[in-house]
Amino acid sequence: MPESAHRGSGNRPPIFAPVRDTQPKDVMDVIIENLPLYWEGFLRTLFLSAVSGVIALVLGTVLAAARVSPVAALRGFSMTYVEILRNTPLTIAFFFAAIVLPRLGVKFEQFEVAAIIALSAYTAAFIAEAVRSGVNSVPVGQAEAARSIGMKFGQVLSLIILPQALRTVIPPLINILIALVKNSSVAGAFFVLELFGYGRQLANANGDAVLAVLLGVAFFYLLITVPLGILASTVERKVAIAR
């Protein structure tokens, strides 16, 4: 690890430049020689995914709440949002965030912000659907009982329905988060340097070892997604016992 990791694509210390060698070499060599670069990309991807994931979870839950609310306008808004975002390619969300938003006056210093906006807006639609199906899985009698002791809509949802819905929703939510981690690679195409972006740089620099470079990229994605998958199955098992 370098002492000072410069962020962004500007002046990069030499250690971060892809190591280029004319000699054909071992698969592992390319990966090991470029570990700092991989690590930097890994951290950027982790950061993008974590921030977008948290925003998407909050936004998605709010959208799901709007979808089951007694206010017709909120239901309509939520449904329209979800249907548009989840039925269009992620790349379009990125184009909107990176190109259309700045023209509408939403300016940001780094493309990373656009990437976070696109990823969280897109993922929130899927989370909203997952949470909504979880809400629907809670027997209707639970809400009726809560309403009959005088709880208001917000209380019924936050105290009775969502805590129970969460149990069934966690495994599908983790699947969505895994997809988010992989989707964050689209940011690489929008000038955001993350794992996939660095991987492309490396592949360009090591034309003879593209396969090795990509294997390295895949490994670092797995480093995030496999633990998430393990978490999903653990939670699933725990929920099964709890019932």
Partner: protein
Amino acid sequence: MFARFSLMTTQVPGDALVSLKAVNKHYGQLHVLKDINLNVRKGEVVVVIGPSGSGKSTLCRAINRLETIDDGKIAIDGKELPEEGKELAKLRADVGMVFQSFNLFAHKTILENVTLGPIKVKGVPKAQADKDAMALLERVGVGHQAPKLPAQLSGGQQQRVAIARALAMKPKVMLFDEPTSALDPEMINEVLDVMIQLAKEGMTMIVVTHEMGFARKAADRVVFMADGQIVEDATPEEFFTNPKSTRAKDFLSKLLTH
């Protein structure tokens, strides 16, 4: 009709804690509540019986607006049921409801099930709510189950907790929607005993049930419903020994042959 006549003579509308006037409800083509008029006075125990599909559960649920009605008026303690929102929530806090399927909050302990309403709806301090809840749980005979989850209790115990949960809100009236229909036979009595006790203490109750024994023992009035209409409204004695309508005679004869 006799029922209408007795309603008009014995009921003083101003005196009614729960009053339904010309209530109608349709499920699509099906006319489930046909021009229902019913007044329940403070302290009165009204048992609603009738064949399945007669609309008695719908009637019970309409009283705290878990079912909306198409037209007519429902008032509780002189106040007409408001639209969905804060006002309705407030009114519902005064109307206890016990469901056929208990509907205890599955993720909360027995004690939390009872304290949740007082704490979150009425703003009672937790220590006070806990104390009151324990007293209620003792009263219905499940005090020692307080730290358990609903799924760990028998049906009869769960239903008694559900009664305690409703009582914790200190309701003006209690609605029971077939409270013993989902119970094993040996658990029915433990729930009915609690209800009979409650009736003796002067609670206003509207009970939809198939338990004729309870109707005889605890009811002040029996309302017989069929096909969405109130066909008879009489004292238990009158209704069981001398039903006026053929519909009620038919219903009772079927009960007795089994």
